[in-house]
């Protein structure tokens, strides 16, 4: 039993990395644009499928499709954001609520489209790293670190560092932070709020799509995988504390560890229920997230 | 107990390292209009939030009508007789003016018929009866401030907390609001009022409490407080306005 522990931990960390990328984009969209995007899982799914198209039709390694996937989806996001904005700033109905329902509807439409075009079958993405793994012999422990998962972690860290740099060291990042804190004031200060918002959303969609490629390569992809991913993103963010970006990495790794422990020690099909129960308990104890810094 | 409506004993509100209210103690006796003044950030609204149950004091005791109410929920305090307005007015925007008052009326009048009668009564009292069916979002600022007071009045409070109900109004509207406040006082409600408009608060208050950086630096009748050196220092220059032009 105990011999499996280090593997469980490694798996957990690697899983956590993926959760992190999923949640980071989601938090960004919320923190800056105040959009809770129900379609986050669908963006990931669609990204994975575009990656699939690249590998199956063009014979290109999935990892090489990353930049193209990013560009395609960043543009899609950029174009979509004004629509979202119009819904969110509507004067009739209840804008925030309607924004949610809108993205919910989009998610449904995307899922339906994917199911129509790609069917219900599960695929997986092949990359040069798919088969490889590091093996570590360490006393009684035998660890396997699949290279592709490691690549996923590297990707997650790259995204975080990239975000950090972008937000703190560039003019664009400054504009983004200004918009996040006070849209009107930022506009008055000369920030093109519309363009900045569209760019942020495009960034978020692009990154989510790239995450999809990794998930497709690491696990698998199918047209119905969106909802579970959206739920995972949400779990991470609520666990971290809504709006508290700094808590997201911790929450992501914690959830990754919990999930990997479940996969190794218990029945995998109960994972969602287990995660939900844990989230439930945490919310009972501390509604503002594990650091009590949520909104 | 001394028959005080409200009593604060060494109430402290600390937010992390920031001490917004620093060991403030005072009493409010029935029928008074007590004004709280102080520079921005002095802790005035924080005290309101503590008294109305939105914040739990870090330390100290708050007693209402002789009972310890420290840390009680806002709805419990409303039921006990504390009504408040908010500095940034919060009407129930999607509801009509009448409905806004009606919801508040349910506290004392659980039945629809009685609640409606009460609501109309309040609407007439505050002068919004002609705009009863208007969506609350469609009111002018003056109307919204009036509505805010109306909601609190529908609770039939013994203590009414008014948070900057005059700020942002033109002189005519401000005078009308002052008349309304005096009318409320005449019905037997004790009033605690926070205001920046000096001439208003100095004119109607029986007693003034001055806060600065969370501490109470002076307390007394308006004329006394206006002459207090610490108060003058805290305000630097507004004292001339406060005493109506005469220099101390």
């Amino acid at each position: 039993m105990l011999a499996l522990l280090p593997q469980a931990i490694i798996d957990g960390v690697l899983l956590g990395g993926i959760y992190l990328t999923v949640a980071m984009g989601f938090s960004l969209a919320f923190g800056v644009l105040h959009i809770i995007d129900f379609a986050v899982g669908e963006w990931i799914m669609l990204g994975a499928f575009i990656g699939l198209i690249f590998t199956k039709w063009l014979g290109v390694d999935a990892l090489l499709s990353l930049p193209v996937v990013f560009v395609i989806f960043a543009v899609v996001g950029w174009l979509l954001q004004p629509l979202l904005h119009r819904v969110l700033s509507g004067s009739r109905g209840r804008p925030v609520l309607m924004g949610l329902v809108f993205t919910f509807g989009l998610a449904l439409a995307f899922r339906g489209s994917a199911l129509t075009v790609f069917g219900i079958f599960t695929h997986s993405l092949d990359t040069v790293l798919s088969q490889g793994s590091w093996h570590l012999d360490w006393g009684p422990f035998f660890l396997t670190v699949p290279l592709i998962r490691l690549a996923g972690l590297v990707y997650a860290l790259a995204v975080i560092l990239g975000f950090n740099y972008l937000l703190k060291r560039t003019d664009f990042g400054l504009a983004v932070r200004a918009v996040a804190q006070n849209k009107e004031a930022a506009g008055l200060m000369g920030v093109d709020v519309n363009r900045t918002s569209a760019a942020v959303y495009g960034l978020y969609v692009g990154i989510s799509a790239m995450t999809g490629v990794f998930i497709g390569a690491i696990v698998s992809l199918n047209a119905g995988m969106g909802p579970d991913l959206s739920i995972f993103a949400f779990f991470v963010v609520v666990l971290a504390g809504m709006g508290y970006l700094a808590g997201v990495p911790w929450a992501a790794f914690l959830l990754g560890l919990i999930q990997s422990f479940f996969l190794i020690y218990f029945n995998p099909s109960h994972v969602l229920l287990a995660l939900f129960s844990i989230l439930y308990l945490i919310l009972l104890i501390s509604p503002t997230g594990m650091f009590r810094k949520g909104v | 107990m001394s028959g005080a409506v409200l009593k604060l004993e060494e109430v402290r509100m600390a937010f992390g390292g920031l001490i917004a209210v620093d060991d403030v103690s005072f009493e409010v006796t029935p029928g008074e209009i007590v004004g709280i003044i102080g520079p921005n950030g002095a802790g005035k609204t924080t005290i309101f939030n503590a008294v109305s149950g939105y914040y739990r004091p870090t330390r100290g005791r708050i007693s209402f009508l002789g009972q310890d109410v420290t840390g009680r929920q806002p709805y419990e305090l409303a039921a006990m007789g504390i009504g408040r307005t908010f500095q940034i007015v919060k009407p129930f925007a999607g509801l009509s003016v009448l409905e806004n008052i009606l919801v508040a009326s349910y506290l004392r009048h659980p039945h629809q018929g009685e609640a409606r009668s009460k609501a109309w009564e309040v609407l007439r009292f505050i002068g919004l009866a002609d705009r009863a069916d208007l969506a609350a979002a469609g009111l002018t600022l003056a109307g919204r401030k009036r509505l805010e007071m109306g909601k609190a009045l529908a609770l039939e409070p013994k203590l009414l907390l008014l948070d900057e109900v005059v700020a942002g109004l033109n002189p005519t509207e401000a005078d009308q609001t002052v008349q309304l406040i005096l009318k409320i006082r005449d019905t037997g409600v004790t009033i605690l009022i926070v205001e920046h408009i000096m001439r208003v608060i100095m004119k109607i208050s029986t007693r003034i409490i001055v806060l600065n950086y969370g501490r109470m630096i002076a307390q007394g009748r308006p004329e006394e407080v206006a002459r207090d050196r610490q108060v003058i220092e805290a305000y630097l220059g507004e004292s001339a306005e406060a005493t109506g032009g005469s220099t101390p």
């Binding site: 209840r94 339906g112 199911l115 739920i231 509604p287 | 409303a78 009407p91 909601k151 609190a152």
Partner: protein, 323 residues
């Protein structure tokens, strides 16, 4: 409204609708009739949370599924008769609402939506793996093929639900209190409302009839499985219908349900080979309604009506004030 009280009108309408199964005995028509009623029930119970309190329950179907499975289990494994099994289905759904509502209602509207969505999926997965619920193959119930019976049962359940919700939401203080919470939860505390308690009550109230509807569905269709009762489709369709009809009223979702169900039936007749297309249409319908008609069909109509009335009133006020 002057004249006869609202509840009398409602009863009259229900009675009028109740004559339909007597007049038309065609089994296919009755099936559609019964299903349309079921959707009305699902749409109005969803609207209770979404329209009146502003809390989107994207896992509303879990109540339906819990009710369906509870009734099915009691009937098949426990040998219970129909009516008590039905009642217990509703009770079970209410219990799920009570237990899950307590922490999840603390979440802000959006996160509540995902939380309930997650619950629905989690319960669906449980039903999928457990043996005694039949796993992915679902459960079969003893056949009881009486279309008129089920038409009346559904009418009774939905009619009663509508009436009760009408009384509670439009006549009693409860509805206005919920709306106040929707408008400003924090401010509602100051006027003596306890939002946590009120929200929980509403949540349970939205769950119990839905559970009962699930139970009726189980006995009526005689077959249930995780995807039909605990899948996303129940919630998704209820959402479209309520939004399309108009949130925040009881009439809106009724209209939305009838209109959308008619569209769906028509669609099915012509395009049943493209079932996956239905998801796309649902999604686009939701998005388009939000974009173009956020107040829904009934909401937009009612607003115009109100607007004209207010305009007339305002004009007369203006004249009176001499402006």
């Amino acid at each position: 409204m002057r004249g006869r009280p609202a509840w009398l009108w409602i009863l009259l309408v229900i009675a009028a609708v109740g004559t339909v199964p007597l007049l038309i005995a065609d089994a296919f028509f009755l099936r559609l009739f019964t299903e349309a009623l079921m959707w009305i029930g699902l749409a109005i119970t969803w609207d209770l949370m979404a329209g009146y309190i502003g809390y989107l329950n994207f896992g509303h179907g879990v109540f339906f599924g819990v009710g369906a499975y509870t009734a099915a289990l009691l009937i098949t494994k426990g040998g219970w008769p129909f009516w008590p099994a039905l009642a217990l289905g509703g009770l079970a759904a209410g219990l799920v609402a009570l237990v899950s509502g307590w922490p999840t209602l603390r979440l802000r509207g959006a996160y509540f939506a995902i939380g309930t969505w997650a619950l629905n999926r989690a319960v669906g997965q449980v039903a999928l793996v457990l043996d005694f619920t039949g796993g992915p193959d679902g459960m079969r119930l003893p056949p009881f093929l009486h279309p008129q019976f089920f038409a009346y049962v559904m009418l009774g359940v939905v009619g009663a639900t509508f009436l009760i919700l009408w009384l509670l939401l439009e006549q009693a203080p409860f509805g206005l209190k919920l709306k106040a919470i929707r408008e400003d939860e924090s401010g509602s505390l100051a006027i003596g409302l306890n939002p946590a308690w009120l929200k929980l009550q509403a949540f349970v109230l939205s769950a119990v009839p839905t559970g009962i509807l699930g139970g009726v569905y189980a006995y009526w269709i005689t077959f249930i499985d995780p995807s039909s009762t605990l899948g996303d489709l129940i919630t998704d369709q209820a959402v479209v219908m309520a939004i399309f009809g108009g949130l925040g009223t009881l009439i809106g979702p009724v209209i939305g349900a009838v209109l959308f169900f008619s569209f769906k039936t028509y669609f099915w007749a012509y395009l049943s080979d493209y079932q996956v297309l239905y998801l796309i249409i649902l999604g686009l319908a939701i998005a388009a309604t939000v974009f173009f008609l956020p107040d829904g069909f009934w909401g937009t109509v009612a607003n115009r009506w109100e607007g004209r009335r207010a305009l007339r009133k305002g004009l007369s006020l203006g004249q009176a004030a001499g402006t």
